[in-house]
């Protein structure tokens, strides 16, 4: 007979514990810290670079909502990011929509696509779920490749006008656009924080931890999984749509499977299942891509090495390790 001592190993890769009052205060401080960092960033760094980091950070945050808190590994998140990017670029350029409407429309399309793909994918679990999301995302890629009238094919949609926010504020200036992107990012981050800690988020975490048990308590797990999937796809779409306006470009890269891989990498490097990890992960990966760009194809190799080191040495990711260190969830 087994003794009374605990023999269960903690679930691998996740550093999440519960939230208490001290933690809530710490999180509030971090939010204030991020706000301050956002306020000074354009004055010490190149605004377009910071905007790129913010778009990818929001993308990674959205992905982490699904994997870290819903326990669902999607290998096809580029579909929502990329499709929103196309829709936002196309409508801003060809329909002359103002940027906020183009971004809104792109986000809505990502939500619809998420609802459709999510409904198909959640019928299977684990690796099968991941493969279905990948397959569906590849369909979106080939659709994008085959419809140059909409996507511009290999060229993508170039020279997207940044336009005037609400028809009033000209966003052509990087600094002006930066504040808009910073606000979108902060709103996305706060939304995700709220979702994670909402009554809905509690049930999602329960389903992530032990789905059969959650079902046996009367929760219709699939409906929760679909909801969190749609929320994640929507926020990924918000990131992609914003990215199209920032870079005035939507291209096949945005819907390619390597984009889905990159967001997994950012999340794992930063800390899966931590609130703030994906931001750090996006910062690290985007910085590497920018500053190591002269290495050409070797960037991918360097990324691969970092990924291997991460998996071998600190599976909880950068923020996950810090969280373990200070014994507080981050």
């Amino acid at each position: 007979m087994a003794n009374v001592a605990s023999t269960d190993a903690p679930a691998a890769g996740l550093a999440v514990i519960e939230i208490d009052h001290g933690t809530a205060r710490l999180h509030r401080m971090i939010f204030i810290g991020i706000a301050i960092a956002l306020a000074v960033a354009p004055f010490i760094a190149y605004p377009v670079f910071v905007m790129k980091v913010l778009c990818f950070a929001l993308f990674a945050l959205a992905f982490n909502l699904l994997l870290g808190y819903g326990g669902l590994l999607s290998f096809g998140h580029a579909a929502y990011f990329g499709m929103a990017s196309y829709v936002s670029a196309y409508t801003a350029k060809n329909w002359g929509l103002t940027p906020e409407l183009a971004i809104l429309l792109g986000t809505c399309v990502a939500a619809l696509l998420g609802a459709l793909f999510g409904a198909l994918a959640i019928r299977r679990q684990g690796i099968y779920f991941a493969m279905i999301t990948l397959a569906l995302a590849q369909m979106v890629f080939f659709f994008s490749l085959q419809t140059p009238r909409f996507t511009g094919g290999e060229d993508g949609i170039q020279a997207v006008p940044r336009g005037k926010l609400f028809g009033l504020i000209n966003l052509a200036d990087d600094r002006t656009l930066y504040w808009v992107v910073a606000i979108i990012f902060m709103a996305g981050l706060l939304a995700i924080y709220r979702i994670i800690h909402s009554p809905f988020g509690q049930v999602c975490k329960a389903i992530r931890d032990n789905e059969p048990r959650a079902i046996s308590l009367g929760y219709r797990a699939n409906q929760y999984k679909l909801t969190v999937f749609v929320l994640s796809a929507t926020l990924a779409g918000l990131a992609g749509a914003t990215k199209a306006i920032v870079f005035q470009l939507a291209s096949l890269t945005d819907v390619y499977w390597s984009m889905s891989g990159e967001v997994v990498l950012m999340t794992l490097v930063g800390g899966l299942g931590t609130v703030f990890g994906p931001i750090v992960g996006a910062l690290v990966i985007v910085s590497m891509q920018n500053y190591l760009a002269s290495l050409g194809a070797w960037v991918t190799v360097v990324q691969g090495v970092i990924f291997v080191i991460c998996v071998l040495l600190f599976r909880e990711g950068i923020v996950g390790v810090i969280a373990k260190w200070i014994k507080k969830p981050l």
Binding site: V4, S198, P199, Q202, K205, S216, L217, G218, A221
Partner: protein, 254 residues
């Protein structure tokens, strides 16, 4: 007297590609009783259990709960009807605190929690009852601890507290004593006795002394079929039961 029966199965059968794990089982569980299901390894107890809780779909037969045919219901739906199961391996939410584990079950009373825009503060009113339930199973000292850090026996206690939070009319316990030390067995036994008031309990259990002291009625399964049924005294004297246990190498050594 049909009004006394809370759960009944008729001709319940489950085939796994040629192998019949459960073969035409008729079972009647009386309202308010503690009913035990025993049998040697491979007798089909766990399969039968999974059929009752809809985690498996039966090949043939029917399940009636409170006069309602639940043969084709989904697992989440029967939980909503008041028929709640436990699992053989301790079923807790490992990364959530002890309090949150119980609160997840209490949240069910709010209906479906799809309110992702609302703050966690919306759940504060449930904390008091969650604490009461945690205290009832003797885990007050561990309220804030993530469930993963609890000892095995305490995880089982937490699981029972979580199940009780739903205030189920009937509890299905799948080997509640599996892998437990003597002290824990006594504690959980007392707990089951305590919570059985005004409830019906059907449990699969290997520990025969627990079965003897707790259950009002025992059904013995062997090779997917009902071998014998009755109270402990009559079942334990049944020659076929003794043979089935000794013939299989015997789990009764527990």
């Amino acid at each position: 007297m049909p009004e006394d029966i809370i759960l009944s199965t008729s001709g319940l059968t489950k085939d796994f590609g040629g192998f019949t794990a459960v073969n035409g089982v008729d079972l009647k569980v009386k309202r308010g009783s503690i009913h035990a299901l025993i049998g040697p390894n491979g007798a089909g107890k766990t399969t039968f259990f999974n059929l009752l809780t809809k985690f498996l779909a039966p090949s043939k037969g029917a399940i009636v709960y409170n006069g309602r045919d639940i043969t084709r219901e989904k697992p989440a739906e029967i939980a909503r009807l008041g028929l709640v199961r436990s699992f053989q391996i301790s079923a807790v939410f490992p990364q959530l605190s002890v309090l949150t584990n119980v609160r997840i079950a209490l949240q069910r009373k709010r209906g479906d929690s799809f309110d992702f825009w609302r703050s966690e503060a919306a759940l504060k009113p449930l904390d008091e009852e969650a604490r009461r339930l945690v205290e009832a199973v003797g885990l007050s000292a561990f309220v804030e601890l993530p469930a993963v850090e609890l000892s095995y026996g305490r995880k089982r206690a937490l699981e029972i507290a979580t199940t009780l939070a739903l205030d189920p009319e009937m509890m299905l316990l799948d080997e509640p004593m599996a892998g437990m030390g003597r002290e824990d067995v006594e504690r959980i036994e007392a707990l089951i006795r305590k919570v059985s008031v005004n409830r019906t309990i059907l449990m699969v259990e290997h520990n025969l002394s627990v079965v003897a002291s707790l259950s009002d009625r025992i059904t013995v399964l062997a090779r997917g079929q009902v071998l014998a049924e009755g109270d402990y005294a009559s079942v334990s004297k049944d020659a076929r039961v003794i043979e089935a246990y000794i013939g299989s190498g015997g789990d009764h050594a527990h």
